[in-house]
């Protein structure tokens, strides 16, 4: 009896379904890659599939965490992919102009320039959304379309290659045997969680997302909160841009961060944050991003033919979203242990968002 009730409590936890999906996806790999879970030391750092997933998934986690707060205010930020490209392009072109590319001061300055550009993009988005009252999807579309052109302008249409050891660290290097990017992600996630859950900030963000006008009337500066989340989101995208360009030691204005905004939105939704705003889960988003990266890795390792990659991805995502929908579970599993939770606050969230990810996916497939 106690195990049943414990199971019930567990399956009601808002992270239960995302984590379950992640575990299933990881297990699917085992028949195809027998030593999938093995992690061994190579050249003084850990090496294995799990390490690769976290390493390649780091930029997506960062972008998705920023996106979570924007979505929590009822907004959306489509410009993150372009911000990734701009940051990488600016930073790499600055470093490549240096006489000594290994000089730490030059690299730090370059990263500062890149991140400053990202913050400017965020301020612009926030200004358009909060001050000008433009719908977020339109406001951020401007940089999404124009930003990639800006990145290409910076790189002159070429791929800029850098040979800088310190710069290589942030996205491709190792520290204490682990990929350095893990520490960056951990720091950003920790700061985000601390700021939103240990202070009133998270509550303010949720209240703005729930009802911006009502929050204004009770004295919350909702415009300022909105501008802040767009800046934060752009900053996260900027750091992801540093990682992506550092990972390959090259800035590709055309392809860096292409479609990452869609994967990020999907990660947020899989993590149980409502696209309608008003509630968010940073932990869920991290799991959601890992689910997407694991899915990508799985496609490569189990040998899905290239032409069917996206269809396979779409099918898995649809299943994941259906599993997250309490209505669907109630229909399929009947009134059993998964059903009858319509009144549950936590469970109501994924149901609201269930149709959205399919729409997002369709955009990418087409």
């Amino acid at each position: 009896m106690t195990t049943t009730s414990r199971w019930r409590a567990l399956s009601r936890h808002h992270l239960f379904w995302p984590v379950a999906v992640l575990v299933v996806l990881l297990l699917v790999n085992v028949p195809f890659t027998p030593d999938f879970f093995s992690v061994k030391m190579t050249d003084g750092h850990l090496y294995g599939s799990l390490v690769s997933i976290v390493l390649f998934g780091s930029p997506l986690i960062l972008v998705a965490v920023g996106m979570t707060l924007v979505i929590a205010t009822g907004g959306i930020d489509l410009s993150v992919g372009a911000v990734v490209a701009i940051t990488g392009a600016l930073t790499c072109s600055y470093i490549s102009d240096q006489a000594d590319q290994d000089a730490l001061s030059g690299v730090l300055l370059a990263m500062g320039i890149g991140l400053a550009a990202a913050v400017v993009c965020g301020l612009w988005n926030g200004f358009l959304v909060a001050r000008m009252g433009i719908q977020p999807i339109i406001a951020t579309l401007i940089i999404m379309v124009a930003g990639r052109g800006v990145a290409q302008l910076i790189t002159d249409g070429q791929i800029i290659t850098v040979n800088s050891e310190p710069y290589k660290l942030i996205g491709g290097g190792y520290w204490l045997t682990l990929p350095f990017s893990i520490f960056v992600v951990a720091a950003v996630v920790a700061v985000t969680v601390a700021l939103t859950r240990r202070t009133a900030l998270g509550l303010l963000v949720e209240s703005v997302g729930g009802n911006a006008e009502a929050s204004r009337l009770v004295g919350i500066r909702s415009r300022r909160i909105k501008i802040m989340v767009y800046v934060f989101c752009a900053l996260c995208a900027g750091i992801a841009g540093l990682m992506i360009s550092s990972n390959t030691s090259a800035a590709d204005g055309n392809n860096a961060g292409l479609w990452i905004e869609l994967d990020a939105i999907l990660a947020v939704v899989i993590g149980g944050t409502s696209l309608l705003g008003g509630r968010f889960s940073v932990g869920g988003t991290v799991v959601g991003a890992l689910v997407i990266q694991t899915l990508t890795t799985t496609i490569y390792t189990i040998g899905v033919p290239t032409q069917t990659n996206l269809v396979f991805k779409a099918a898995v995502v649809i299943i994941v979203c259906l599993m997250q929908s309490p209505k669907f579970r109630a229909k399929v599993f009947g009134g059993g242990r998964f059903g009858g939770r319509r009144g549950d606050r936590q469970a109501a969230t994924p149901a609201d968002t269930a149709p959205a990810p399919e729409a997002v996916r369709t955009m990418e497939v087409s």
Partner: protein, 339 residues
């Protein structure tokens, strides 16, 4: 809570953004068409109208530069336009060249079909048309005089032949387990480079060569790196990598190194394109062979333009001058790489 004022502001915002985009486009075309090579020398000056696809990659940028420089050197007047990946832009550019009565039109078609109408107009105006880099499908072959560009299937075959040489040099014995990094799914270079390579493999190495994994890396470094990392996990005994372009090979090299293996030794690498960074990696011994896909077809194109303008008969299909490079040649060739 979207009220009317907010909606209006949004609408104005969109209109402004759209207006800006339109301005940018106009600027492009006007500066593009005024960007003509100042010619020298006496005699009749040839005017060439060139409609480029766009500027989607480093390869294309080098291609554009080569055409512009070659036209300047030959002393032709070049009318250049950038179609920004859209067929309608390219068609209107060709129409404007016809209206301006240029001597020869050259263009790199965005897509394969849908050119018959505009090319008939050119034929009626007696302006010879040359296709560069990409081909078209048409019911009437007389609509263009020549096609100059790379043969992707042949590049695949050359890659297969090159692998034979590389294996022999490395003194490789035993089965050859190949990982293939494909280009963007459905793109002609990806399909045809795979096809040409498979031809050689099926014809001559049916028993000893095998492609164990093949996946798209989207022609990008990040793609190549991620896919190769997964390959090395699922099939650790891969000993050859065939990448459809240098950028994917460069990404894959980083993954191979992270796995504690030596690119160029533990895993032999063949790639296609011949960009500068690829040659740098080859001179460091990390790539074993590169099949060149040459964007610098400007000089060859100008010869062809001259012949076509003089009304001489020209070859229907001209292949760009391309080489196959192995590690020994990499160091010598490196300083001459322009892109």
């Amino acid at each position: 809570m979207l009220n009317r004022r907010n909606f209006l502001t949004a609408a104005v915002g969109v209109a402004v953004a759209g207006g800006l985009a339109a301005c940018a486009k106009e600027d492009d075309s006007s500066s593009g068409s005024s960007d003509s090579g100042s010619g020298g020398g006496g005699g009749k000056k040839i005017t060439l109208g060139f409609a480029q696809v766009g500027s989607e990659s480093g390869w294309r940028t080098a291609n554009t530069k080569s055409v512009k420089e070659a036209a300047k050197e030959a002393g032709y007047t070049l009318k250049f336009s950038d179609a920004q990946q859209k067929q309608e832009n390219q068609i209107s550019a060709i129409r404007s060249y016809i209206a301006q009565k240029v001597d020869v039109i050259a263009f790199s078609p965005v897509v394969v079909t849908g050119w018959d109408a505009v090319l008939k107009e050119a034929k009626t105006a007696k302006i010879p048309v040359i296709l560069t880099d990409r081909s078209i499908k048409t019911s009437d072959d007389s609509l263009y005089v020549s096609f100059i560009g790379s043969d992707f299937i042949d590049e695949g075959r050359r890659a297969g032949k090159m692998l034979e040489t590389v294996l022999q040099k490395a003194g490789h014995k035993g089965p050859v387990k190949i990982a293939q990094l494909e280009g963007t799914t459905g793109a002609a270079p990806a399909l045809e480079r795979a096809k040409g390579f498979k031809e050689i493999m099926d014809a001559e190495h049916k028993d000893d060569w095998k492609i164990v994994v093949s996946q798209t890396g989207d022609f990008t470094r990040a793609g190549g790196k991620q896919v190769m990392a997964a390959f090395l996990q699922s099939d650790p005994d891969i000993n050859v990598l065939y990448a459809h372009n240098d950028d994917m090979a460069l990404g894959a090299i980083q993954s191979i190194e992270a796995a504690g293996k030596k690119p160029g030794k533990d895993i032999l690498i063949i790639s296609v394109d011949g960009v500068k960074d690829g040659f740098v990696a080859m001179s460091e011994g990390k790539i074993n062979g590169i099949v060149e896909c040459n964007p610098l077809l400007g000089p060859q194109l100008m010869d062809l333009v001259k012949k076509a303008a003089d009304g001489e008969t020209v070859e229907r299909r001209i292949k760009t001058k391309e080489g196959d490079f192995l590690q020994e040649e990499a160091k010598e060739a490196l300083p001459t790489r322009k892109y």
